[in-house]
């Protein structure tokens, strides 16, 4: 039997909408029932098993819980109910450049962002040439990143994140980063990772790319898994659902 990389069992995630922040709102909430804060279940009993080395896509309309699922897998937030098991080190390309500081130089930010993502300084030292080459911003390493263009910024962040040591990679619509040349480069890198036998989980609206990359795909809708299986079948079910609605 293959080893499991990720097991989610009956995972629920609740968000509160319009939580009372002010004393006056809180008092109003005690007085009348309809002023109480509303609850929203972003995930409703999601169960997933992903084996080591699998490449899994997640699709679904906006607000179906895709991002919440990735956030739970990455450990940024915890489920309200249910259990999660994650076997291995997770790297996520969810929010590139969170932790960059505008006043610091590109080089300083490589180190800062690297340790935020869980690297050791020694690891960063070793991977620095690779990171710098991949980002393609050698000339601007000593420039504060506040002077970077948004493309340069994202390229640097991507270069740091993709060079992490990880067992499981989470990707959120990452193929649309930078110019055409960089997009090619990053797609190539992702293919490399896929072929190296690492576990990859990708959220995307680009169904064609998913068909090329993913062994399996999960279709989410309103916080529930509608279909889980071979990518081609799940994608056609998704498209069918969309045309039915229109």
């Amino acid at each position: 039997m293959k080893q499991q990389a990720v097991i989610l069992e009956n995972v629920w995630k609740k968000y509160r909408i319009g939580a009372p922040k002010k004393l006056t709102e809180m008092l109003a909430g005690w007085v009348s029932a309809d002023n109480r804060q509303k609850e929203f279940w972003a995930l409703q009993g999601v169960g997933v098993k992903i084996q080591k080395g699998e490449v899994v896509g997640i699709i679904g309309p906006n607000g179906s819980g895709k991002s919440t699922l990735l956030k739970i897998l990455s450990g940024i937030t915890t489920p309200t109910k249910g259990s999660i098991f994650i076997n291995g080190k997770v790297a996520s390309l969810l929010e590139l450049g969170a932790g960059f500081h505008p006043e610091l130089t590109g080089l300083e930010n490589i180190y800062l962002y690297g340790v935020i993502l869980g690297m050791k300084k020694k690891e960063i030292d070793e991977k620095l040439p690779e990171i710098v080459t991949f980002s393609g911003i050698e000339q601007f390493l000593e420039t504060p990143v506040k002077h970077y263009s948004s493309g340069m910024y994202i390229r640097l962040a991507f270069a740091v994140a993709i060079n992490l040591d990880f067992d499981i990679l989470l990707i959120d619509e990452i193929m649309a980063v930078g110019d055409a040349e960089f997009q090619q480069k990053s797609l190539k890198k992702i293919h490399e990772i896929v072929n190296s036998g690492k576990t990859v989980i990708i959220v995307s609206h680009d169904l064609e790319k998913l068909k090329n990359l993913c062994h399996k795909t999960i279709l989410l809708q309103k916080g529930k898994i509608i279909k889980n299986g071979e990518t081609k079948l799940v994608v056609s079910r998704y498209l069918q659902n969309l045309s039915n609605e229109n």
Partner: protein, 268 residues
């Protein structure tokens, strides 16, 4: 393996130790950013307490003639202010350690107390600079140092732990209620006058002295002054009381912080 449920105090401390490199880089970031575009740079660490001390010396030392005993009033107030400012500025900054790092709180995975600890650590160089100025002033006033000055070290460690405890508490509470943003500076200002900073503890009437001792900063500031300026061991009972209170505040705040940490990313 991701765990849900129980938390463990020692486990949490170990988590901080495992992230010590992150702590180092965040502290460095804080320091670099603070002084990178400031013309006077680190000199602000001296300008702030010195200008405050001069004004207090003028009002209380000259106008109102508060007795500072054998110690020159300027030394009394500058020593108090240097260590008070570390406490008060650290806590003020710690209040924003989570809300001001929105991106890191909502998009990264690491023990979030690292953000609070780094803001406090980033204040230590400021204190060191003003401490050097304090020593220079003591030299100017022909005040020697004795071995009792070593009391500053354990006392300062107690102060750091107290600062961390309150910093964690304010930072976490501010995530849920922004009232803390307004409350913290007010509280710290009132607190300063209830701590022997601009006056010596000896000038406080005896029955009020007991009340003032309930404030953990009283024992800390008094111990620093007696070690440095009076060249004698501090009132150990008073310092021990500060230590006990500090430990209690730290543990309760840290537990409260870790308990609410899960909600930070969702609520902030």
């Amino acid at each position: 393996m991701v765990k849900t449920g129980n938390y463990n105090f020692l486990e949490d401390l170990r988590g901080v130790w495992q992230h010590r490199e992150l702590l180092y880089f965040l502290t460095q970031r804080e320091l670099e950013v603070r002084y990178k575009q400031a013309f006077f740079g680190i000199a602000w660490a001296i300008i702030t307490p010195l200008s405050q001390a001069v004004i207090f010396a003028l009002i209380f030392g000259v106008f109102l003639k508060v007795s500072s005993g054998p110690t020159p009033y300027l030394l009394l107030v500058f020593s108090g202010l240097s260590f008070w400012n570390f406490f008060s500025q650290s806590i003020t900054m710690a209040t924003f350690a989570l809300t001001g790092n929105y991106n890191l709180v909502t998009k990264s995975v690491f023990p979030k107390e690292i953000l609070v600890i780094s803001t406090v650590l980033a204040r230590v160089p400021d204190l060191l600079f003003s401490f050097v100025v304090l020593l220079a002033m003591m030299f100017y006033y022909h005040q020697g140092l004795s071995l009792a000055a070593l009391w500053v070290i354990p006392t300062f460690i107690i102060e750091v732990i107290l600062t961390l405890g309150l910093g964690l508490f304010f930072a976490a509470t501010n995530v849920f209620y922004r009232d803390v943003t307004a409350l913290a500076p007010l509280l710290l200002m009132l607190w300063m006058y209830l701590t022997p900073i601009v006056y010596p503890l000896s000038s406080v009437p005896v029955h009020f002295r007991l009340l003032l001792s309930l404030n953990p900063m009283t024992g800390i500031i008094s111990a620093i002054r007696s070690g440095l300026l009076m060249r004698q061991s501090p009132d150990l009972l008073l310092l021990a009381f500060s230590l006990v209170l500090t430990a209690a505040i730290f543990i309760v705040s840290y537990l409260q912080f870790k308990k609410s940490e899960k909600g930070f990313a969702d609520i902030i």
